[in-house]
């Protein structure tokens, strides 16, 4: 009798355990926060709030102004000396490769600083210059207050951890925002070709 009861309880507990694990991993798909963020955004695009952004030129724009075209967004801080330096180069290259949709106003590249205390317009301009900005279609911006920064990081799912060397380690990626201002995809930061293909496919008639 004890054996039967134990079997019954164990089976129930195992079933509950499997259900909880399935829930905690989006059906055994997402074991890390990064995968979870990508699945969640792909399946439930999030509207990016119309937050004000200060550009490298010192002027203001906002996510509301930027609607009507596709956006490729990355999060940066200009003091970065590790892989963010590759991020800058990649955006300059995307600016070149995607010159046609940029020229026709269908696409905009956007680098958002998550270190606005340090990244004032001159630092942002210098960042773009360093990586060979071609002058059109790529904005480097910073949020204008810490509340906006927190909102942006939450919506885009960006986590920046101090690396103990006066810098940050962050989950770098290329985020895609559609013309309706909805965040629809998070793509690998080290695969700009993939991001270019994604946009070209969306823009194809």
């Amino acid at each position: 009798m004890t054996a039967l009861r134990t079997l019954l309880v164990s089976l129930l507990l195992a079933a509950a355990g499997i259900a909880v694990l399935a829930g905690a991993t989006d059906g055994f798909q997402a074991f890390t926060t990064e995968t979870a963020r990508r699945i969640d955004i792909r399946e439930q695009p999030r509207t990016v709030p119309p937050i004000t952004l200060q550009t490298a030129a010192g002027t203001d724009t906002s996510f509301a102004n930027l609607r009507g075209r596709w956006l490729l967004v990355d999060f940066i801080y200009t003091r970065c000396t590790t892989y963010c330096t590759v991020q800058g180069g990649e955006f300059a290259k995307l600016q070149h490769d995607l010159a046609v949709p940029i020229a026709t106003g269908k696409l905009q590249l956007l680098s958002v600083s998550f270190d606005p205390a340090h990244d004032a317009p001159p630092q942002l301009a210098d960042y773009q210059r360093r990586f060979g900005d071609r002058g059109a279609g790529w904005l480097a911006v910073r949020p204008t207050n810490t509340a906006d920064l927190a909102t942006l990081m939450r919506v885009f799912g960006v986590v920046a951890v101090p690396d103990g060397l006066d810098g940050f380690v962050h989950n770098a990626a290329i985020a895609v925002v559609d013309p309706d201002g909805r965040l629809v995809a998070i793509l690998d930061w080290d695969d700009p070709q993939g991001a270019a293909r994604y946009v070209m496919k969306e823009l194809a008639p």
């Binding site: 009798m1 004890t2 054996a3 009861r5 134990t6 309880v9 164990s10 507990l13 195992a14 509950a16 355990g17 499997i18 909880v20 694990l21 905690a24 991993t25 997402a30 074991f31 890390t32 926060t33 990064e34 995968t35 979870a36 986590v159 951890v161 690396d163 103990g164 380690v169 989950n171």
Partner: protein, 191 residues
């Protein structure tokens, strides 16, 4: 004071200390501290608290817990949740998940293990220990070789350090277990 009562008090105080914010922050600051110190201590607090469970209640539950199997199944699944990198992250970012961790590790891992381990026979104990050791090797190896950060809140070298510790724990556990099997009490050849 009786021993069960003392254990209960120590466990309850340890639990409270682990939950207070400065301690939470300190033990959540690195992946190694969270996985190898905070989570095991929470389970240990639950184990101590369970020592105060009255004998009558313990006996009633035991009717549903032959050889401690039900309790070990419960503890295994609850423990597995807190091995997901995503859960470790969420426990730092989301207060609800943090509470789930602080409640479930003592109550759904520590307590059932305390009620089940003494009832578990040689085979059940062996299966549990081997599975724990295998998990230490699997996770340790994964953390050591993964080129990407599995937790958004922790650095890569922290993850690799945890991997090395887990492998070391696996090796030590195998050594201790082997020693016990060969020369420890209960060895049928040892007369």
């Amino acid at each position: 004071m009786t021993a069960p009562r003392r254990d209960f008090l120590v466990g309850a105080i340890a639990w409270m200390l682990l939950v207070i914010p400065p301690m939470r922050q300190a033990l959540g600051s690195t992946m190694t501290l969270q996985m190898l110190v905070q989570i095991p201590l929470l389970a240990a607090a639950g184990w101590l608290i369970a020592q105060a469970i009255p004998a009558r209640l313990d006996a009633r539950i035991a009717r549903w817990n032959r050889s401690g199997i039900s309790g070990i199944v419960l503890a295994s699944f609850a423990g597995m949740v807190w091995m997901l990198p995503r859960a470790l992250d969420a426990a730092l970012d989301d207060p609800h998940v943090a509470w789930a961790k602080f409640l479930s590790m003592p109550l759904l891992v520590g307590v059932p293990i305390a009620m089940s381990w003494p009832r578990a026979g040689f085979v059940v104990r062996g299966v549990l220990l081997i599975e724990l050791i295998a998990t230490a090797f699997r996770l340790g190896w994964l953390y050591l070789i993964s080129p990407v950060r599995l937790c958004s809140n922790y650095l890569l070298d922290d993850q690799q350090q945890l991997g090395r510790y887990l492998l070391a724990i696996g090796v030590v556990a195998v050594a201790v277990l082997t020693w016990k099997l060969m020369w420890g009490r209960g060895n049928p050849d040892r007369v």
